[in-house]
Amino acid sequence: MIDIRISNCNKNYGSLRVLKDINLEIERGEFIVLLGPSGCGKSTLLHIVAGLDRLSSGAIEIGGRDVTDVEPKDRDIAMVFQSYALYPTMSVRSNMEFGLRMRGKPMAEIRPLVEDKARMLHIDHLLDRRPSQLSGGQRQRVAIGRALVRDPKVFLFDEPLSNLDAKLRASMRTEIKKLHQSLGTTAIYVTHDQLEAMTLATRMVVMKAGEIQQVGKPEEVYHRPVNLFVADFLGNPGMNFMKGRLRLEGGRVSADVGAATIPLDGYAFDTSPTDGQAVMVGLRPESVQPSTGGEPFALTLKPTLIEHTGSDNLVVLAMGSEEIVGKFPSDMLPKLGEPVAVGFDLSRLSVFDAQTERRI
């Protein structure tokens, strides 16, 4: 069942096109993450779904109802902001009650609701404090609580964790995930943090310059990026790209990347390859591993730099005139300048056309 339908949505500020013909359908209960670099229009799209920004053309449907011209308060949504946006002169309790009181719910019904949700978020002991007396993490809990008590059809999150420190961010992320699993409410979540996107999303939407690049399950977007931008944007360290040309010989396809010829027999082409086609061959660092001898494709390469991350060793390997990064286990420590045998997991390859930058 479709819960939110965004059709042909455009947003212009003067001559600046912030959103270009966005189409997106969101099923009930999905957790959609909008991901992209700053200025890609992801926040604008969220604000348009909320009704805080008007779209220049197109339509928004929530729960089967056209809400394009409906005020935010009548869209049955709740939103959590990066800045928390708690009402500074009100107590935590009043903050959480505000939305329900605006809707004319009697106080006798509001009180137990607020207390129940406060207990759920472990902020029941803070109810009589002012927002200024709370820590960042507590404030964001209150902001989430304020959204929860309304029991809306859709939750909107606008980079809710970006103001928190790394450790708190990780624990709040887990909590948001748990909340969504227990409530099952449709959610749209905007972030520029790919780790948040990968862990929270049931489907993620990668955006760039006002356009949707790819929509899909996190692992699908991660392993089968549709173009160079998505491939490059996701992953840390980033994907290795090797410039080369396709070679078609006797029904077999391979990519000549200068230092080596990579067989593409197992690669599922989206479009039929042509001989001599200029391509970028992409492979994530975790698919570049020390050889165990069993791989169908291995090379002997010279390490030029090693970075220890604790859990892994990132090994920079010279490959012709280019360099690629391999993610080695922490107990595998090659010596600088001494060639090592490196195995390539070719089932994880991505091949892009060098001109169109699209996956082929």
Binding site: A50, L52, K73, T89, G99, M102, R146
Partner: protein
């Protein structure tokens, strides 16, 4: 004996008056001197006003302007408040004080209220042409009073408000809107937009957000607006003398008539008492709300 003292190294000039210290003290002295002069400049006239108002006429005529009264008496105050002749009536200032209150209090409240709502709309609810409206309002601050005297006079006559307290209220409200709007608009710019958005999603409308969320954040700017407007309206003379008649004249006009009357002996003690009465409300307002005023003027300057 002398040899031993010579052998002892004389301690370096470690006295309390090092050159550095002397310079600091000199700075202090100059600073206090300047402050004293400025304080004298402002407090001196007030002292003379007060001391003269408690003197009798013979004592004033004997000279000694700077001395305290020999036999303090409140008679001049009683006369100024209830008996002095202003124009052809001899009822003192009390009626005019009432006029001023009847004029200033509503005019201040209305102009501050409208300015707050205007400023809120301009800062937080951008509409097409908002910048032009704001620019026009700012320009309104620079229209000299003299320019509008004739048109306002015609307008008030047409409305049937000429010579009434209500007419003065109207013109002061209109003249107050540009400055109060500017004041509030600039303050409200610092209120985070996310607050407004959150409240809109929570279901609050324009006025609910204004009264429940924005205004409670703004006591300091409200006080600034109140003081500025009250001082301006209470002390206004030009509009008051142009658009009032003897029964609706505010304090400033009455005081002028009292002091400048050409009949009989000039009763300086009564004039002084009358002047203090005329200045008292603004003085009291400053004393009561002054600290909020100072806080309001610097608010936003330090808080990031």
């Amino acid at each position: 004996m002398s040899t031993s003292t010579d052998a002892m190294p004389r301690p370096a000039r470690s006295g309390w008056l090092t050159p550095r210290r002397a310079k600091a003290i000199l700075k202090r002295v100059v600073l206090y001197l300047l402050l004293a002069i400025v304080a004298f400049f402002f407090a001196g006239p007030l002292y003379i006003l007060l001391s003269t108002s408690f003197k009798t006429m013979p004592e004033i005529q004997a000279g000694g302007l700077m001395f305290l009264p020999h036999e303090p008496t409140a008679q001049a105050w009683v006369t100024a408040w209830g008996e002095a002749c202003i124009g052809i009536t001899c009822g003192g200032l009390k009626g005019y004080f009432g006029n001023s209150m009847m004029m200033a209090v509503p005019a201040v409240l209305i102009s501050v209220m409208i300015g707050a709502i205007n400023g809120y709309a301009l800062a937080k609810w951008p509409f097409p042409g908002a910048r032009f409206v704001f620019a026009a309002l700012v320009a309104g601050n620079f229209v000299p009073f003299q320019v509008v005297l004739a048109p306002v006079s015609v307008t008030l006559r047409t409305l049937g408000l000429f010579g009434s307290v209500e007419g003065l209220i109207l013109i002061h409200v209109i003249y107050g809107i540009p400055i109060t709007t500017m004041l509030f608009r600039n303050f409200f710019l610092s209120v985070p937009n996310d607050l407004i958005k959150a409240a809109r999603i929570d279901g609050a409308g324009f006025f609910w957000i204004f009264f429940r969320i924005v205004l409670p954040l703004s006591p300091s700017v409200i006080v600034v607006a109140l003081i500025l407007q009250f001082t301006g309206i209470w002390n206004d003379f030009l509009f008051a003398v142009s658009f009032s008649n003897p029964s609706s004249a505010p304090m400033t006009v009455a005081l002028n008539n009292l002091v400048n009357s050409n009949f009989g002996v000039k009763e300086y003690n009564v004039h002084m008492a009358a002047t203090v009465i005329a200045a008292a409300p603004t003085l009291i307002l400053y004393i009561l709300l002054g600290r909020y005023f100072l806080r309001g003027m610097t608010a936003g300057a330090v808080k990031g």
